[in-house]
C-alpha cells in the first residue's frame, strides 16, 4: 500500500468517517464525489449530481452497487436503461459498461468491491 498518499493510507480500515472532515472532489461537469469508508475489498463513495449532469459510460472490473439517496437518475447498464428514484438501487457486474444521467439533481451512494484504488 506504499503507493497511497499518507492521509488516504491512514484512513484504510478506519472505523469512522465524519462527513465534515472530508473534502469533495470535482469529477465530471456537475459531478462531485467524496470518498467515505474503505478497506481493501470494499469502498463507499458519495457522488452528487447537478440536474442534467452525466456520469458518462465507462467500465471497470470492480462490482458496483449504488443507492439513490435523492434525485432521479436514468441508469444504463450493458445497454439496458431504467429510471431510478430515491430508495432504488442498481448493480453493475464486473466489466459491464454503465453510465447515468441525472434527470433531477441528486446523490448516489456507490459501493465497490474491491475498493477503487485509483480514486485515492
Amino acid at each position: 500500500m506504499a503507493f497511497f498518499e499518507p492521509a488516504m493510507t491512514d484512513r484504510l480500515n478506519a472505523f469512522f468517517q465524519h462527513d465534515a472532515d472530508l473534502a469533495w472532489e470535482a469529477t465530471e461537469p456537475g459531478v462531485k464525489r467524496k470518498i467515505m469508508a474503505y478497506g481493501e475489498d470494499l469502498m463507499v463513495v458519495r457522488v452528487v449530481f447537478a440536474a442534467g449532469a452525466v456520469g458518462k459510460a465507462h467500465q471497470h472490473p470492480h462490482r458496483q452497487a449504488s443507492y439513490v439517496e435523492s434525485g432521479i437518475f436514468d441508469v444504463t447498464i450493458d445497454g439496458r436503461t431504467s429510471r431510478l428514484h430515491a430508495g432504488d438501487t442498481f448493480f453493475v457486474p464486473s466489466g459491464l459498461v454503465h453510465g447515468v444521467v441525472a434527470v433531477e439533481a441528486g446523490q448516489l451512494i456507490d459501493s465497490f468491491t474491491p475498493m477503487r484504488k485509483e480514486f485515492l
Copy 2:
C-alpha cells in the same frame, strides 16, 4: 446457489431494484430492513431504525461499510464508539464486534462483501 429461494435467486446480479417492488422485513425491535442490490461478493441493504432502537452487538466475517442517510447513531466497533450523523459512514473489518443505537430515528445503508447469504 441452489439453496436460495427462487425469487431471491432471480435477483442475484439483477441490474435494477425498485424500492416499491421490495418488502421490508422486521429484524430486531424497532428495526426493519430491505435487501436491495446484490451479487455474490457485494450486497446493499437498507436498515431503518425507530428512535432508541438497538442493533445489538454482533460479528461476522463479511466486511461492512455503512452510510448514515438520516438520523443520529452511536456506533460501537471493537469497543470504540462514535456518534454519527447524516452523511457519515463507518467501516467494520472482518470479525470485529459492532453494534448501533439509534439516538434519533434514521436509516443506514449497509454494504457487505461478500454478500450476506443468510439474509436471503
